[in-house]
Subunit: 194 residues, 4 copies
């Protein structure tokens, strides 16, 4: 089975997730600039989640690049990932509207954690399907970002009840370390051909 | 006529259906974890429908794999299927918000039944177009899942008025038997080539 | 310039239009079957518009099949068509919620009329670009459906103020004559090759 | 890395942005034509933004035509552009519902300005990646439209507080100068081959 339709469906779902998030930014009823002020936390949480979905799209794109044949379990692991990502608009809206209140930040962390686990499962399935010479395995290498991220989410969840700024800072920090484009897979593929 | 645009359009509609369902999970106004509690049935009904749409996408994907030429009737049979699937977000939202009340579960069953019938019509049109040596016919075989599902939906509709748990259990049961990836079509295609 | 991205963008917009229409079918607050009754006209208007968008997708698909090179004016004629089609969910929702009241049916007719004109402009641009031997021109032939439809919409607009049933009947009638798959383009293409 | 998935994702996001804007055109509760009157400014702002998104889609389409390999920075520059474009439905809705009040027009200008800057960054990244013989650089030429537009937005922002009509007129003027299809890139590509 080809991977074209898996990519197309994933792209569609990710494009819709990233765009419906903006619907939480509800048009205010006044016409003054002042009426925008309560929307600032909603806007900031939208920006953070936009970056997270962008990172997932980017990494998903690279990961599938290394796939040759799509198996049944991969299809379901991919849907599992999309399920958790589809909850990001909800978690983002709740966090933004409540000015990063502890419980809302904790939920945001839970959704990010589950998405990270789902991504890891998909990655392991692809590596397993490629056998001992897996390109993806070499590309991922020590995968320190992939291992660090869930640990940070896991600590940010209880920390939200102590200080909302530390917890938010951790989510921003993880987004920043991923923003650097991940060239590992490209390098491994280039090494393969070279 | 090629099947690329039919797949692209179907993927688009399915991706939107699966994603707008999450809009029924409305952001609560409080900032405590307690405010999430009333959303639990909405979340569970979302999860069930996400799995159902995933199954349809998966099976649709496999079924079209076996199609060579798309005919006019197939285009309309496909739109007919998408029509019933497009009602799933509505039925899901009504069921979740009313804690799986009998009438809401019955409507959910009606929508699933109509979608199953629409899928069957599309499948028969494809088989008919392929003549006596139809790959899809061999792939589908006895089609026990396809025959069992509408019968179970049909019994779940009245049973919802007797016990909402039995009816819900039947919908979950059917989702589980389909979750096992359907390798019949792949096997038939492989046998064809082998 | 290739036509792939024009098709992909049009498919995306049409898939979203057809799916967001269902959002007008708002989840009722009661849990009885009775609470669905006021939704019946909304459901029927959704069904009618679903068929209309399906017809446009189908015919658009066939028409672009005959296109070789996409020109700048075609891109804008296509966006012009998508603009009027994007107003169908609004016109549908207004008509359904007000039980096919005269003004709402008249607006529905105006939107259908403008979409039909936009489709005609796009068709003429494609024919003009293909020169005297235009495949599309031969395929369209007398184009009696394309000529009849705007005339019927034009008469349905004032007739809505006289009887809402006659006007609605005319919209259903036009949908039915288009539902028959349009094989003219396929035949012309086949004749070309044969 | 190929550009197909970048185009597909961008098309998806642009198709959704252009279509969810119409959701701001909320179905009125009365059944008379009079109830549509308050929607006129919302409709006009929708029309303006539809044209702007259409222009961006069109130019984006042409610009990517000239790209051979997509780099990591291009992916993020593209997401940056999509981020600002995703705010257009919000700015449009606010402007339309408040009858083009000064602050709402100023925000609309800010969003257009940021999108224009993001587009310029993406363009420069592509030109830089193509080296001294960049096709896109020759195609863009003096880029007077690309240089004039942000200057006009920048002046329209404060002018909105002086006269809402002048500011709106400037946004319409810029849309009109871009509506003329941009053949520079096509010409440069044709010259390359010729």
């Amino acid at each position: 089975m080809g991977k074209g339709r898996l990519e197309a469906f994933s792209d569609g779902v990710l494009a819709i997730i990233i765009t419906i998030m903006v619907l939480e930014l509800k048009v205010p009823h006044g016409e003054d600039v002042e009426t925008l002020r309560p929307l600032i936390p909603v806007f900031l949480s939208y920006l953070l989640s936009f970056v997270y979905i962008g990172i997932y799209w980017n990494n998903h794109h690279h990961m599938l690049h290394a796939v040759r044949a799509v198996t049944g379990p991969m299809l379901w692991a991919n849907l599992h990932l999309l399920f958790w990502l589809s909850l990001i608009p909800f978690a983002t809206g709740w966090m933004g509207e409540n000015h990063f209140a502890p419980a809302t930040e904790a939920l945001y962390g839970v959704v990010l954690l589950m998405a990270a686990i789902a991504y890891y499962i998909l990655q392991q399935l692809i590596i397993a399907s490629q056998g001992p010479d897996s390109i993806l395995k070499r590309a991922v290498g020590t995968d320190w970002k992939g291992k660090l991220s869930p640990l940070v989410y896991l600590s940010a969840i209880p920390l939200a009840y102590w200080s909302r700024w530390i917890s938010l800072g951790l989510y921003v920090f993880i987004a920043l370390i991923w923003l650097v484009p991940d060239r590992r897979i490209e390098h491994a593929l280039a090494a393969e051909k070279g």
